[in-house]
Symmetry: C2
Subunit: 234 residues, 2 copies
Amino acid sequence: MSDDAIPQRTPATDDDTFRAAVVDLLGSIAYGELSAFGELASDARDAPTLADRILLSRLAARELAHHERVAARIAELGADPADAMAPFVPALDAYRARTEATTWGERLVKAYVGDGIRTDFYREVAAHVDPDTRVLVEDVLAQAGDRDDALVAGVRAVVDADPAASGRLALWGRRLMGEALSQAQQVIVERDALASMLVGGVDGRGADLAELGRMVTRLGESHAARMARLGLAG
Amino acid sequence: MSDDAIPQRTPATDDDTFRAAVVDLLGSIAYGELSAFGELASDARDAPTLADRILLSRLAARELAHHERVAARIAELGADPADAMAPFVPALDAYRARTEATTWGERLVKAYVGDGIRTDFYREVAAHVDPDTRVLVEDVLAQAGDRDDALVAGVRAVVDADPAASGRLALWGRRLMGEALSQAQQVIVERDALASMLVGGVDGRGADLAELGRMVTRLGESHAARMARLGLAG
């Protein structure tokens, strides 16, 4: 994201309204990680080889480790992690249910593309929180390099073995992007504190609507870059 | 286990036959952990509350961390972890399929009792391997204290809320013990190197048949103690 998207100054987390918004954000991230853990672990059981199973199991465990760090920050802010996550369970579960992968290739693309979109989104949103939380969120979201290499190699192997899969997987990637955006929108509109922080801001320092539009553009560009890396049409 | 079950001296892992037996043992443990990871993570998705879901997700992640350490030891011994695990996939998958839990109480009892039996069994077997491997196996298997407390509390909560569940769960515990023993037996008889190490021993220092009988008795006693701790008939 560009530096000018970062507010000059953020309110402290001793402001109740602002803290509620930060807890909301962290609750949605924490549940996103827990939910990704469950899905990746479940995908792992359907892996065609033990090596693939280990790869996806490791990715799952990493999501849970991230979850733990975010949950610890929620507790530091005086909130209960399970309570903070609860409002986001329906939207995220609905996203997972609407995007249930049926082939190994779809599982790999979803692990790479779906979690990539989620990461980008939260990294954007983290620009609007207090510095301690921002550092945590960016650090948690940054650790995806080697994971990505293995997933990209996995998707490319699927397409090499079955070139006809390429078109279906490209379509699948577009669908994941659409569902993720609609889910993010639903999460934001349903949570007043979160929406206030993002649009206009509790203190008037959040992003404005034009900035939100630019954010969606940036998310789309990152998504296209990921699809290109997979060798799939964006 | 009693100290006299530990051989005075174990062969070095530069003995090919002995190393093959150790790799077999570690392969079966490593797959047991990977398989437990998948099952616990899947159970977690059916948890009645987010707190329960987090508990089982954490247990799953710990199994995977154990898997990683055992897999690293397999690689140290010059073998491929996936190859070492492969022979044990059918028996362990069959065990999981034959003991698929259908209620939350059954899932908790299986997580506690099933993994307890597995841990006891491997701790017994570790008496017959080289010291480095033994230290690793005992260390990996030892870290279950707080996990157990949470599972025991969970099972007791299920029975408190539905006293009629007590009889069904007691029966379930007995069934898990029977299936686990039959699975362990199958693993041993199918793997010559492992069987040689356990009975008679590659170097004549393994357990004899009478010792194996005592081992089964000890496993049964530990199982009864676990069932008692759950407040269930053994």
